[in-house]
Symmetry: C2
Subunit: 691 residues, 2 copies
């Protein structure tokens, strides 16, 4: 299909909209869209299997704008192709996702066209991008999920899933370590359904890439095992199309298309860093429009015929593919009703009926087991009832206990694409981003590592919270409980960092019973990620006939053991392993001092903060101001619960290398010390009351 | 120099010590040292320019054990070569750094041989390692600093600095994104003084690297512009030596030596993941000792002649080089007294005399300037008085304002190694680690990025705090003040995450005056890193004749403006841009309600927490419980200062894309709302008092 005048007109229309939107907002990034518009256009118009009338059709190709600052490119495409809006519960609506008015309010409050693509805010956005490297890494997870869905659900006579994943990335993405990790993984996984387009304009904010980025990117990707092809000029639409044909013909490797482009193409600041992050100015816009043959005096100009042209291209192709798919899916449902039911549940993020029956019981046991171990058991049990629960570890599965060990679980590899155990390698950041990508395709992913290494993945964890997708981040070795490995491996401030993230549920269960209840909450999440923070060391499984039931986990915090009178002198608040320490201190206080202590287990602060004030006051009566928080972590954030007069037994350094018992004594995590702090507080209150 | 029996005996002695230490501790990683011992031995004994009698000789070669879990390898080498201890103020002591008794207490509390190498705890450790990828990335900073020192201080007749940097890394390091970023940068910088040794044993915790890591590492490094050579068998000492000669002969590229090794070599679990992280067991140790020809019944066995052999090798070579260096340095001091003085100050982390005179004044100015701008001005001024202050940005210098613009500052490039502006690329994680490496060589580094992207670098920032090295992490665009870029670029929880890190000083100055005082504190730091958190938007420069002086920054928090009576009804606590909001609210409260409000500026919580209780009570009188904290960030952590009855005006979501003014109104950062919260609290206190 040779390039036509309408192709050129459509490309320049996109450029005009991008320039105008940025100029109108007096803020944004015009240069990248102007340079790479021909490539995005060609992909959408001639290759992308995407129906604007149903932007959540499960087998659509995914397009990821990894260089998210070029958001106007996406807004223009969503507008011109007439993509429809989708409501939060996955119903396609009649209205358009992006109207011309939305484009005109680019970067204004509540516009559907914010500064960067925001998932769930504007339909047609497959993932939130902007932080560089995240989009490409996320695309790897989408491609992995696509391959897994195909392996599980396709039958000889039905190709339910065969979508491709495209990601458009710039020099910045290529420099980020997360992209390197993800590319290495994608090469290993031979993801031939994955295509990255490297928009190589050789300009970054500080100047030409010559000043810091002179590696041979194509050679690097060949080393990862990718298929690499090059387009010498982004404006050569035929060459661009040939490159996409090369991708489509490739069956064993992911493809990188290196496209040489010119930032700010056609404007006075072409090939300059000035084209990156500032509007072109009115004169600049006029000059560029003249260059492109667009009317200089029109803003947000869409020439006659351009919308029709898109309808004849991506519109007709997408609608044809999607309706054909829906027709055969009716037959598929008849032949494979159970598989079809799974697919439909996946799309709506619904769980299989009766999934809760899979949750095991753990009998009381003073020796107990590590919460990483009980979590591993629950995970294995749950995964058998929830076939699209899958995941892996950043090379720590034997330690994090996340391996699915039941028959048929298998390892996800090029030769076994239905496997559910992912080997993600020592690549924490990509592990989290890949999990995001899988969740965006709506399978239920988890990944695991040591809590200390959540630091490596923090930017991707944040995105799961910002996007409101139910990724399960599993972190074990959750405190100085790691013992001998010492300060480099002992998390101290990680809990605070995770708890400060809006929208992330952080669970630190105290025993196997709380682990079960944690997974009960987590499995049911549809729009929230969770972090599970688990112990390396054994913890007793509490006898729930003596203590309150673990169902309190769902409320975030609960009274595990009360003062005998029901009117506590002091409250001991703790999470995870320290709950047992609190219970010991409670006994000591009762026996030695006659002090009535209540123990509150607080596995999830975020859920507790959402409870009605009444419940919160019931658990933490305002009148009881003698409170001791106990956690093997930075004390940062505890004041909220212990109050001004409270005390926290926590960590103020990075720990030390020694056997756990030595460390507990050294850092004061002993019943004696906790009881002593409680005694001091109770004494002080009594003196105040007496005074 | 052909391989001798003593070479073999020395290698096997190291292996024996490593096995015994792990077995004694019943914890640790025996497999890696056993596989790679011949390479570490060859490097130390035959190449490393290092004098065990003076392990802080400035021109020593640096050795980084990036696979830090193999710490016993380093402990054994430090012991056998007789490296001496160094005190915290850089005095070499008479005692040994690692005695045989220290090795015997490996991984016990207070042992000089902790689980992973800890900088400043055991002399001879050049950097703390364990978190994978950090060591290699840090080594790039060391090599860059080495090249810069050479360019600044060497003269035709004196080669004061020409040290090399070696880093030993495993498969895990090679998979981490931070290593990719650093390798790309090192290739660009043509660091021919840098040698990475890739200990390729193809085994990770989950199994053979075949399951996830099948890229061609050598080809990848060639793509980065490295020199790559391979050693087929780690046990072939001659081949290993040839590889190091290849490195020494290379003058334009960093070198990667790929060494094929066998984890757990000689033990029953050779080539198995079981050799990685568990002791071999007594039988395993015996079997291995038999294989190596070591006496099976001896633990911690050092054969006669081995210590002498090291003394004749590394000892004699190192002492010769170091004493020759000291002799010529005496001449150098005579010829170049000022340069010699600088070198000596650098070694002791001392500042030039009179450096404070460089700090500028900023006159009161209601329009003011962004704190990123005032910080840039201070930095430029300070850098002219402090020649070894240098740094750069992760491709954001025009935005973070960290470019040194005075004449002669220059860009650090292969052709201009005396340049002080680093172009670090879109590689935040490596930027922080490279800065760590530079600080370990004792120049004074800074690097900059947007606060949101501190997430990418968190693991390396943590290491600067754990190592107690004075890196300056500069983060601008510190809040929803970034405006239109929206949630992906608006930091919310980052401040809390940084504040929770022990040992990191986090500064968020309110105006140019506080910026100056921040830099005054930061410049003087010798053993602490700092994070500077700066605004994108303009902030008024306060008239200090009307308000308290900015010197209060040094105490972390201070009373900026008090209630007229000196007895406040309410305290408004704020940092950064919100201090101005607090001042406006104070005026409104006084004018409209007659409420006396005190405004406390809290630029550095950590410094405030270190003040005597008396000062803290003076700033925040316990009796005044009506307190409002104001910060455009997660409220997490504020309860410590506002107390149980206080309120916080902060962020509870990830922000939104819109112009700043819209955002301030939308999220409630207005004087009216702050005043309203204050009124409510004052009213509640009055009702309580009345009741």
């Amino acid at each position: 299909m040779p390039t036509t005048e309408l192709d050129t007109l459509a490309v320049n229309t996109i450029r005009g909209l991008c320039m105008d939107a940025v100029q109108q907002a007096e803020s944004g990034h015009p240069g990248t869209p102007m340079g790479i518009a021909p490539v995005a256009y060609t992909l959408w118009q001639k290759f992308l299997r995407f129906d604007p009338q149903d932007p959540i059709w499960p087998n659509r190709d995914r397009f990821v704008l990894s260089e998210g600052h070029a958001s106007t490119l996406l807004w223009s495409l969503l507008h011109l192709t007439g993509v429809r809006a989708v409501d939060p519960d996955y119903e396609v609506l009649g209205r358009q996702s992006v109207t011309l008015d939305d484009l005109k309010t680019f970067r204004q409050l509540d516009s559907r066209c914010p500064g960067h693509p925001e998932y769930r805010w504007t339909s047609g956005v497959e993932t939130t991008t902007g932080p560089l490297g995240q989009g490409v890494a996320t695309s790897v997870g989408m491609a992995m999920a696509g391959r897994w869905l195909a392996a599980r659900y396709n039958r000889d006579d039905f190709r339910v899933f065969d979508f491709d994943v495209y990601a458009l990335a710039g020099d910045g993405c290529m420099m980020e370590g997360i992209a390197s990790e993800a590319a290495s993984l994608a090469g290993h996984q031979q993801l031939s359904n994955l295509c990255w387009i490297y928009d190589s304009n050789r300009i970054t904010i500080e100047g030409h890439t010559d000043i810091t980025f002179t590696e041979d990117v194509a050679a690097r990707f060949l080393a990862y095992g990718w298929n690499v092809t090059t387009v010498a000029d982004a404006n050569d639409l035929d060459a661009v199309a040939r490159a996409f044909h090369t991708f489509k013909a490739e069956t064993e490797r992911p493809t990188l298309i290196v496209v040489h482009s010119h930032i700010g193409y056609g404007s006075p600041v072409e090939d300059s860093p000035k084209a990156h992050g500032s509007p072109l100015g009115e004169d600049g816009v006029r000059t560029a429009k003249r260059f492109f043959g667009l009317p200089e005096d029109e803003q947000f100009y869409v020439p006659a015929g351009v919308r029709d042209w898109f309808e004849q291209g991506i519109g007709a192709r997408g609608a044809g593919l999607r309706t054909a798919w829906e027709n055969f899916f009716t037959s598929y449902r008849a032949s494979y009703p159970e598989l079809a039911d799974e697919i439909e549940r996946i799309q709506r993020r619904k769980l299989p009926d009766g999934w809760e029956a899979a949750l095991p019981d753990f009998p009381a046991d003073p020796k107990g087991l590590a919460t990483r171990d009980s979590s591993g058991k629950v995970l294995n049990s749950l995964a058998q009832r929830l076939p699209w629960l899958m995941g892996g570890s950043a090379d720590l599965a034997p330690s994090t206990k996340t391996l699915l060990e039941f028959e048929g679980a298998g390892s996800f590899q090029p030769g076994s694409p239905a496997g559910r155990n992912l080997h993600l390698g020592v690549r924490e950041h990509a592990s989290a981003a890949v999990s995001n990508g899988m969740a965006l395709v709506k399978v239920r992913p988890y990944w695991s590592g040591f809590l200390i290494f959540s630091d490596y993945a923090k930017a991707a964890i944040r995105l799961s919270a910002l996007m409101e997708i139910p990724v399960v981040h599993i972190f074990t070795h959750d405190s100085i409980g790691v013992g001998e490995d010492g300060p480099t491996h002992q998390p101290v401030e990680q809990l605070a960092g995770l708890r400060a993230m809006p929208g992330l549920l952080v669970f630190r269960p105290a025993d196997a019973g709380e682990v079960v209840e944690t997974w009960r909450v987590v499995a049911g999440l549809r729009h929230e990620p969770a972090a599970l923070v688990l112990s390396r060391q054994n913890l007793p499984t509490l006898d729930r006939s003596r203590f309150a039931g673990a169902a309190g986990v769902a409320r975030g915090a609960y009274v595990l053991a009360d003062a005998p009178s029901g009117e506590p002198d002091v409250i001991l608040l703790a999470t995870g392993s320290e709950v047992h320490l609190a219970l010991s201190a409670r006994e000591e206080l009762a026996a030695a001092d006659g002090i009535g202590a209540r123990v509150v287990s607080m596995p999830c602060w975020e859920l507790f903060d959402r409870q009605p004030q009444e419940y919160r006051d019931e658990v933490l009566p305002p009148a009881v101001t003698a409170r001791v928080g106990i956690e093997q972590a930075s004390t940062f954030g505890w004041d909220r619960y212990v109050g001004s007069g409270g005390a926290v037994v926590g960590m103020h350094t990075y720990g030390a290398s020694a056997p756990l018992k030595q460390l507990l004594h050294h850092f004061g995590f002993t019943p004696e010390r906790v009881a002593q702090r409680a005694r001091e507080l109770v004494g002080a209150r009594q003196r105040e009351a007496g005074a």
